[in-house]
Amino acid sequence: MTLQTTSAPASSAAAPPEVTIPAKPAPARLPALLNRFAPLLAFVGLLILWEGGCRLFKVPAFLLPPPSAIISGAQEIAWPLWLGHAWATIRVALMGYIVAVIVSIPLAIALSSSKLLSRTLYPIIVVVHSMPIVAVAPIIVVTLGASDLPRVVITFLITFFPIVVTTTAGLLATPEELVELSRSLRASRFREIVHIRLPFALPYIFSALKIATTLSVVGAVVAEFVAAEKGLGYMIMFSTSFFKINHSFASLAILVVVSLTFFQTMVLLQKWLAPWSLPRSER
């Protein structure tokens, strides 16, 4: 079986050699500070540019609203209402994500344990994944009716693939010597997987789990585009059809925050549960 993996295990996180330019004995703290706040500064700078550009070129607000208009637009809707929409999306994303993890990891264990299973199932998995999710989503909604179920299924479909592929690659990347050590101790296959293969696959699994966070939000939004009466994806559809572009942008901003929070949660989870799976600099 040849599997492509999108992940990089911890050991491959080689840092490029640092180049230090012998600068004038300038205040040494300034570069350190700059280094720390550069991302924030860049972000704020971009917002200012956006705001200034919109005002300077008098871009119509229904085409591209400036940040200020997005904020004031967002305030037109009561925050419990926003919260309701956000929660609808988060719920679907989470359920799809959890189902994907619950299905994918055992599936990956099966695929990595048996050549026959892998030859049989892998093509099916690839075919399922090859179907453009946007094209399949309406069909799923028709088949499963208008409830959370089709939305969770759509989210699952977009989320499970990287988890299966990357976890399988991780399970197969266990050092051969350790597998031989396990065999020489006559340990059970179950212990071989639980004591050796799964922990060794953790750097891979966590990469997959991180990628899957953002995918699950994409899945939830795609599902809401097809059929929903609530949620941030629904809000974007609804507000664009009424040219309330600032509401769409506000929804988008909340989606970004949701995605980032979700992603960051997994980063922290890895730091907490398996710090050894991270390169030293990231612990």
């Binding site: 050092p175 010597e177 350790l178 031989e180 050590l181 396990s182 065999r183 020489s184 101790l185 006559r186 340990a187 212990r191 004591h195 050796i196 922990p199 953790l202 398996a274 050894w276 799976s277 030293r280």
Partner: protein, 259 residues
């Protein structure tokens, strides 16, 4: 050797199926005995079947023809009498040093008793890592990691220690240091050792006997007694027997080129 042999190979042939369906003969008609607490080095070029020989003893592969016996019993599955040290330490990065040493117990029986923990501490003292029981393994140097691997291999008190080029991933200085370490450990805890290497001086320094193998298919070229007195030390390196034997082996290994 008056005792019954601990390990005996009788006309062992090992064939492997290649991916293209063809068959490679990895080992051809191997016959030798190893006695109790004997230290035997296996020397030969890469690909001559040294690791295969070790796997046969570990019960991980089974001979195409002939028989491999431990204590007079044919090897039909991995046996408890065996501890293995590999080329790379292959420790578990999520465990500290002590838990790595007790891992075979956890892995085999599902739990680690206090007795085994105490034993692991003793073994870590033996390999001079008594101060590092709680350390993470990425805090250790390559040589230290290989010492942990040796302690791990000794945990279940095997009669036979199989070592597959255990020092070849280490730098030259550490390698020499580890050879003397191993001699000391072996003196304190006598075991029957099968030590695979492709370093001639290492083999001569460590072993009672050296099995020199010829490549493709791997066969025994000669079996040599090492007549350098024990206990061995740095001084052994300048023993005339040491150099004579090393030169003899070198000539033996290179003679195949001429042939």
């Amino acid at each position: 050797m008056t005792d019954d042999p601990v390990i005996s190979f009788r006309n062992v042939v090992q064939d492997f199926k290649r991916d293209d369906g063809g068959i490679v003969r990895a080992l051809d008609n191997l016959t030798f005995d190893i006695g109790r607490h004997e230290f035997v080095a296996v020397l030969g070029p890469s690909g001559c079947g040294k690791s295969t020989l070790l796997r046969l003893l570990a019960g991980l592969v089974f001979p195409t023809a002939g028989s491999v016996e431990i204590f007079g019993l044919k090897v039909t599955e991995p046996r408890d009498e065996i501890g293995i040290v590999f080329q790379k330490p292959t420790l578990l990065p999520w465990f500290n040093v002590l838990d790595n040493v007790t891992f075979p117990m956890r892995h085999k029986y599902g739990r680690v008793t206090q007795t085994e923990k105490d034993r692991a501490r003793e073994l870590l003292d033996l390999v001079e890592l008594g101060q590092f029981t709680g350390a993470g393994i990425d805090q250790l140097s390559g040589g230290m990691q290989q010492r942990v691997a040796i302690a791990r291999a000794l945990l279940l008190d095997p009669d036979i220690l199989l070592m597959d080029e255990p020092f070849s991933a280490l730098d030259a200085l550490t390698r020499e240091e580890m050879s003397f370490e191993l001699l000391r450990i072996w003196t304190e805890k006598p075991k029957t050792v099968l030590f695979i290497t492709h370093s001639i001086p290492e083999a001569v320094l460590l072993a009672d006997r050296i099995i020199v193998m010829s490549p493709r298919p791997g066969a025994v070229r000669e079996i040599l007694d090492v007549r350098v007195p024990r206990p061995r030390s740095l001084a052994s390196l300048s023993d005339p027997n040491f150099n004579d034997l090393a030169n003899h082996i070198r000539a033996s290994l290179f003679s195949r080129r001429a042939a």
